[in-house]
Symmetry: C2
Subunit: 339 residues, 2 copies
């Protein structure tokens, strides 16, 4: 059906080797033949068969990316960063969404392995160390994104403990003392580290209390539920500030709080999130947040991955980026307060 290099060769009155040379080493071929081949390609609508090319090369020019939750704009930007950098190196990016589900993570790893991708970029959810080691032995590199596994693999992450510290310190600076951390599960490294950072700072202030409010996942809906739980409390036991493990949770909390109209943000309760997604600035009470260089995160991870794929004996490298505070109205940082 589709024209092959053989058809092109016949049509141009040349050999397949020559056609291949035109395609891959145009300088080794005479201008006249190049023109003839190009004409034949055009005429037949030839499109090279990537599968055959890959089979011959023994490796594809793709890398796989597995994100934790594609409905979180944060991961979108990380993937975009990786893709942009990959495009420069002429590798395509396949994006899979594990949804924090171990089985889906495994399914994508299977897929990528069958495709013989150059490497895999992922924020692991299951116990993948052994699997990744096996894949590495098979020539597939791996770089961890936004999470770190015992120095076995290269990784690019953001210092979540520091982020937790920044958020907590900010709330304290704004005069809050009874603080709740909302998030979960703690099995997610990000959540654990952010909480740990917050706890550290809390420990440095004798008049500050830090409470852990667990959620099952980090979504808008879960944030709403957690918000309703907080609202239902008596004023005396209610926190005067909330540090949410990410912005989706924080925005859910915000919605629960503002719709009931029983509390005001930030007057009655301050709120800070994490990730600084675009919707954070756009919320009706602009949300304070801990920003991460997410595009950069993806870009650096891809860079490390390509280097490692190039030279598998390369030493493991662990890059840690710095988060930073973006203070907005939801913590009273602006003069603006909205009922």
């Amino acid at each position: 059906m589709a024209a092959s290099v053989k058809d092109v060769a016949r049509h141009a009155g040349l050999s397949v080797g020559t056609v291949s040379n035109v395609l891959n080493r145009p300088d080794t071929v005479t201008d006249a033949t190049r023109a003839k081949v190009m004409a034949a390609i055009d005429e037949l609508g030839y499109v090279r068969n990537e599968a055959a090319r890959q089979l011959r090369a023994g490796m594809s020019n793709c890398v796989g990316v597995i994100v934790l939750n594609s409905s979180n704009p944060f991961f979108n930007d990380v993937a975009a960063g990786a893709e942009a950098w990959g495009a420069d190196a002429n590798v395509s990016v396949l994006v899979g969404n594990s949804g924090e589900i171990v089985a889906r993570e495994k399914a994508y790893l299977d897929l990528f392995e069958e495709q013989r991708v150059r490497g895999v970029l992922l924020s692991p959810v299951g116990q993948v160390t052994k699997r990744l080691q096996r894949m590495r032995r098979g020539g597939i590199a791996a770089v961890l994104v936004d999470r770190d596994v015992a120095g076995e693999f290269s990784s690019v992450s953001v210092d979540d403990r520091l982020g937790g510290r920044l958020a907590m310190q900010h709330l304290i600076d704004m005069g809050r003392r009874r603080i709740a951390f909302v998030g979960g599960p703690l099995s997610l490294g990000q959540v654990a580290d952010r909480f740990a950072g917050a706890a550290e700072v809390a420990g440095e202030h004798s008049d500050v209390t830090l409470e852990f409010v667990a959620t099952d996942r980090l979504t808008l809906a879960h944030g709403r539920v957690a918000g309703e739980r907080l609202i239902a409390r008596a004023a005396t036991t209610r926190p005067d500030a909330v540090f949410a493990a990410n912005d989706l949770l924080a925005l859910g909390l915000l919605q629960a709080i503002t719709t009931t109209r029983s509390l005001r943000v930030p007057d009655d309760i301050a709120l800070i999130g994490y990730d600084d997604i675009d919707f954070a600035a756009g919320a009706a009470v602009p949300l304070s947040s801990i920003a991460q260089p997410r595009f950069e995160l993806g870009r650096l991870a891809m860079d490390l991955l390509l280097k490692e794929a190039e030279d598998p004996s390369r030493a493991v490298e662990r890059v840690v980026l710095q988060p930073f505070l973006v203070a907005r109205a939801s913590t009273g940082a602006d003069a603006v307060t909205v009922a």
Copy 2:
């Protein structure tokens, strides 16, 4: 490096044909040999080479999806619908983001064609008719999503004119008369159709005025800018309701309006968006919106695509889904859903 079917065969003391049979037609093989092969596979860590498989089969088991803007949660859900349905049929989905840029659309089409995907699902941005026809001749099916091109191809879309009518009618029902449509560019079919629907309804009410407020793109930031323009107007010329072409715009508008605190939503100005993304319900003033069955949209499109890939002579089919109103606080309604 990686073990091949040949290695497995040797290791199991059988032939490659038999190994292949174990993998692809397990019933034609005796229990004992199956066990032997499985053991060998396990021991060698064999993973089948998808490229070779594809080469032999002449076609991959992937389909490509090209979305207009991956930072709009709407497209995420469309893609998720397509992916879910594809998974049932054992096809993987490659997602590309054109960002409404013709060159990137072309780049993804090239990639997909080289990969010999079964078909392509896309919301076209450039003039792709001829290209898609050529690809179809080469055995690659195409289905258009959320946009329709002159009956040449199958498509799944949502009736944007009706959606525009619904939004407009709702605003009128809520007592609004001076209405502004915010959106653009009109070269986007969705924007044009939604505005056309709104204009139709406006024409049916002699006391209603409809104004067009142009934006360059459909993003949060552009919504914020448009909002500031509206706020700056004198009360007498200011609209009492805004219909935004999508939710990103609407949320941007909302933020501009609420932070200046000069106007209240919905009392001074009602606001309705389009798409009903998750952040709409989660906004501090829950946003009324026109919902589209986006997951279904992706699902149906994938279904059509797979059918067409199966039987290329299949008649073109054009599915049009119905949007529906989700009324929330931003138009002064309680959370009511109307079909």
